[in-house]
């Protein structure tokens, strides 16, 4: 019995020793934590402020005695109701969701098919073609946006979903990322499938795609973040109100001559931020891994 007590004492002593070591951080660690917390506050505060303004009686958060926490659920719900009933926000949601989903599906499909060929097979002009694709990675969007716009106009795709989606489907970044991943698929696995009677498409569909699942998820997440937040392309290619994306609608609410009150503007902003927020909370781990894996800032 006494042995047990001694052992327990030893353990608690060790624990306190460990504990004291853990709780005596160096000055540099304290500084790092302060800096990190400071950055986190700067990042989180606008979102929190948005909640605060939306879920408060109009004027309260910006009164002489401002409150930093929401005070009225009903006011917030009322704001959301106004946005959905009195504006075409739901339509914009639909356009944005379709634009994002179709872009993700298209980029995954085309990038993976091209990456499969580049990564696993030899064909004439492969290096040259790959070089050209990679070169397009180095050209800023601002340079290509006008020629792409002109081409889209010539195709008669202004104010159409295909006009929004199709020009963005050739993703050099997605191709590059998937090539790197698909290169790691053992050639023997492809050969085994070939001997098993799988044709070229079946090898791609049944072997290469499932084996690239992680890379595809990463690419889908990065594409979502890029597309949902894309403002310039929808702005120039879909100027008609019936094709407005959420980003454009939010832009209208925030325009200098917009006569909407600040709580309605904030509600529009909040609603625009909700899908990426939910998306981020669900795929947090994959997003961080994806960014680390692909070396991009998203």
């Amino acid at each position: 019995m006494s042995t047990t007590v001694n052992a327990a004492e030893n353990l608690s002593l060790q624990a306190s020793a460990n504990g004291s070591r853990r709780w005596s951080p160096s000055f540099a660690t304290v500084l790092k934590w302060i800096l990190a917390i400071g950055i986190a506050i700067v990042a989180v505060f606008p979102i929190w402020w948005m909640f605060n303004v939306v879920f408060s009686e109009p004027g309260v958060p910006i009164s002489i005695n401002p409150r930093l926490y929401p005070t009225s659920l009903s006011a917030g719900l009322n704001n959301i109701l106004i946005i959905f009933t009195e504006t075409d926000y739901l339509r914009a949601y639909y356009v944005s969701v379709m634009y994002t989903l179709l872009t993700i599906a298209g980029i995954l499909l085309f990038s993976s098919m091209a990456a499969f060929e580049f990564a696993q097979f030899q064909f004439p002009g492969k290096s040259l073609l790959f070089g050209i694709v990679m070169l397009s990675l180095m050209v800023p969007t601002a340079v290509t946006i006008i020629p792409t716009y002109l081409l889209t106009v010539q195709l008669g795709w202004l104010n159409t979903m295909q006009g929004l989606v199709v020009p963005g489907l050739a993703s050099a970044f997605g191709l590059f990322m998937l090539i790197q991943f698909m290169k790691s698929i053992p050639a023997e696995m492809i050969e085994a499938a070939r001997l098993d009677g799988a044709n070229h498409f079946q090898i791609y569909w049944h072997v290469a795609l499932p084996l690239s699942k992680n890379a595809l998820v990463t690419l889908a997440i990065l594409t979502f973040m890029n597309t949902w937040g894309n403002y310039i392309w929808p702005l120039i290619v879909a100027p008609s109100p019936h094709m407005y994306t959420v980003g454009q609608v939010v832009g209208l609410f925030n325009a200098p001559y917009s006569h909407t009150t600040v709580d309605i503007v904030m509600t529009a902003n909040l609603l625009a931020a909700v899908p990426p927020l939910i998306f981020f909370l669900i795929f947090q781990r994959q997003i961080v891994e994806g960014i680390a894996h692909s070396g991009t800032k998203g």
Partner: protein, 374 residues
């Protein structure tokens, strides 16, 4: 009754494989009979895997002809040749279960589910995999993965099974076990199997027929013990057998009807010339090499006796039942002798007796010189 596999024969005529100007296989001629277990063996880079891949259709044939059951298959798609291959890395699809892996070829052919189930279950029964059908490859041991890879081949009911160094990734104990299982499988399926390995022990234990390759050429084809006892050249003699055959250079000083006298063995002038039994030796040949298997060389119990070759012991490998004694002769040639059941006494300067009636004779180009009577 157990008609799982069709039997087929393969003929390879003047097959050549070149990558640009580099020829990796040169004028390969080979007949593989139905139901045979043929092993391609040779050192790394000898072209054995390339030959196997040419048979599978994964590599084109630069020149020559390949016939499977009298049908030329040179330009036939790999999937349509009726050949199944087991890869060194198993090449199992990690996202599919064992069942799905084994049924993959049937899925690609859009076979009905009942047929898939029946064929996979039959193969799984043969390979004792029935309880593992729901698992994924990552949940299997090395031996089980190998069996799944073989199962995937069985399900296809191929005319010929190809194995590309399938046991290389297994540990020594499991390799011995899998070898036994492969032999059992072959006798059960009575299928034509072609197996590639660089391990001559594997070749000796598995094969009905061994094909020894080196430098892109077939060196010799034959039954394992025929290659061991009666090699065509120095390469085959050296490659088959562990430890490898000893080669001692010498000069023929006299040629009699049934023997030759060889001088200069070991490089010590004090060693008297040795008579080597040989009928019908070509007297124009002077320089030869004698091939002596380690089991035909023994360490003398007393050092430097007149009948033996003086030698210095450099390494002793005690394996329990036998002892391999590595020695170096006066001219620097190395010679390994084996003592069966007798432990080495620790002497460094010793002499080695060779069984001259077992010695094989090679000319300086490495070609075997055979006595006239054989």
């Amino acid at each position: 009754m157990n008609k799982v596999i069709a039997m087929s024969s393969l003929q390879i005529k003047n097959a050549t494989k070149a990558y640009g100007t580099v020829e990796v296989l040169n004028d390969i001629n080979l007949d593989i009979n139905s139901g045979e277990f043929v092993v391609f063996v040779g050192p790394s880079g000898c072209g054995k895997s390339t030959l196997l891949r040419m048979i599978s259709g994964l590599e084109d044939i630069t020149a020559g002809e390949m016939r499977l059951d009298d049908r030329v298959i040179n330009d036939i798609d790999p999937a349509k040749r009726g050949i199944a291959m087991v890869f060194q890395s198993y090449a199992l699809y990690p996202h599919l279960t064992v069942f799905e892996n084994m049924a993959f070829s049937l899925t690609m052919a859009r076979a009905p589910m009942a047929e898939r189930k029946q064929k996979v279950e039959r193969a799984a029964e043969i390979l004792r995999l029935t309880h593992l059908l729901d698992r994924r490859p990552a949940q299997l041991s090395g031996g089980q993965k190998q069996r799944v890879a073989i199962g995937r081949a069985i399900v296809r009911q191929p005319k010929i099974f190809l194995f590309d160094e399938p046991l290389s990734n297994l540990d020594a104990e499991l390799r011995v076990q899998m070898r036994a299982e492969l032999i059992e499988l072959h006798s059960r399926l009575r299928a034509t199997m072609i197996y590639v390995t660089h391990d001559q022990v594997e070749a000796m234990t598995l094969a009905d027929k061994i094909v020894v390759l080196n430098g892109g050429k077939i060196q010799q084809v034959g039954r394992p013990l025929d290659l061991y006892d009666d090699p065509d050249n120095k390469f085959v003699a050296g490659f088959i057998g562990t430890p490898t055959m000893n080669f001692l250079s010498g000069q023929v000083t006299d040629v009699a009807h049934d023997h030759i006298i060889v001088a200069g063995l070991g490089g010590d002038p004090k060693i008297p010339p040795l008579p080597i039994p040989f009928t019908g030796f070509d007297p124009s040949i002077r320089n030869i090499e004698l091939g002596i298997r380690p089991e035909h060389a023994t360490i003398a119990s007393e050092p430097s006796t007149a009948a033996g070759l003086p030698a210095r012991v450099t390494l002793v490998e005690e394996l329990g039942d036998l002892t391999s004694v590595h020695t170096v002769l006066a001219n620097g040639e190395r010679l390994v002798a084996q003592n069966h059941g007798r432990r080495h006494q620790g002497t460094v300067e010793t002499s080695v007796h060779i069984a001259t009636d077992k010695a094989l004779v090679f000319d300086t180009s490495g070609k075997r010189l055979r006595p006239a009577s054989t």
